[in-house]
């Protein structure tokens, strides 16, 4: 990269950072207590995590998808992102119901949902990505953000596979298959856990 390109690249990053600071940082801060309040539901939620996408990652995504600065707000919907780690796969609808009750939050679960639980990626990645909007009092328009739902086992798979391959530029088909097999086995464990819970619940109900 020559110095002219270097300068352009840095100026571009600074512009993105200013947009993030001005339009997203306050919303992120406002959303943190709201979304993390769900952690009180320990029986269904393991933990809640959140992050603000860094300027470099936003730039990379814009370059990959051919998105200009003027389209940033409508095309990059995960600048603010939360991840909700749950114990049981069958609790996904319960979490969605809890999210719908939070003030100012509007979920878009009908459109633009990337359901990698129902349709896992070739690598075995499983997670439900939901696009949402948060309308803060005093703001002109709602700010988009993303919520990822995944089970503790799906999260463990993502962390493990990441640690194994983060230095590799491209994963071969053979290794993708291995990761997919690992993911499928953990998914089976999630399904068995759901069956066990349902059976235990019905036995407990029968005892009353």
């Amino acid at each position: 990269m020559n110095s002219e390109e270097d300068k352009f690249s840095e100026e571009y990053l600074i512009t993105i950072k200013h947009i993030v600071d001005k339009e997203y940082l306050g919303t992120f801060r406002a959303l943190v207590p709201l979304i993390t309040s769900l952690e009180q539901r320990k029986e269904i939620i393991d933990r809640v995590e959140g992050r603000l996408k860094d300027a470099e990652s936003i730039k990379e995504k814009m370059v990959q998808r051919g998105i200009g600065l003027e389209q940033l707000r409508e095309k990059i919907l995960d600048i603010i992102g939360f991840r909700i780690i749950i114990h049981f796969l069958s609790d996904v609808p319960n979490i969605i119901a809890l999210l719908r009750e939070l003030p100012g939050i509007e979920l878009n679960t009908d459109q633009q949902v990337e359901d990698y639980i129902a349709r896992p990626q070739a690598t075995g990645y499983r997670s439900l990505h939901i696009n949402a909007l948060y309308q803060q009092a005093g703001q002109d328009s709602p700010v988009p953000f993303e919520i990822q739902l995944r089970t503790a086992l799906q999260h463990a798979w993502a962390a493990k596979s990441h640690l194994l391959v983060y230095k590799v530029d491209e994963i071969s088909e053979r290794w993708q298959k291995h990761f997919r097999i690992l993911s499928d086995q953990l998914h089976l464990a999630d399904e068995v856990a759901d069956l066990l819970r349902a059976e235990l619940n019905s036995e407990t109900a029968g005892m009353v």
């Binding site: 950072k17 801060r29 959140g50 990652s57 640690l163």
Partner: protein, 93 residues
Amino acid sequence: MDKDTYVMVRRESDQMIVKMYVVPKELPGDIFVKVVSDTSEKIHQVYPMKDYTLLIGIAHSPIDFLKTFPDWAKGATTFEVEKLTDSQEQKYE
């Protein structure tokens, strides 16, 4: 808000976390924005933007932060943590 907000500095050349800042959790929303925004600019004066990336996230502890975002922290295990001082907070009151 139980969790702390962290600002992490990642060096792009080797993907290592070189520094981590804890944002005081008591900061009101508008002051939080000003402190984090201004601090980010100061961090970039020491760690230039073309070589270092900042991530802002929430976690219970620095280690938890790394475990939480393995896709960002790239396996880093050591780093220095600094708490943003009260004077930075008071400056904007």
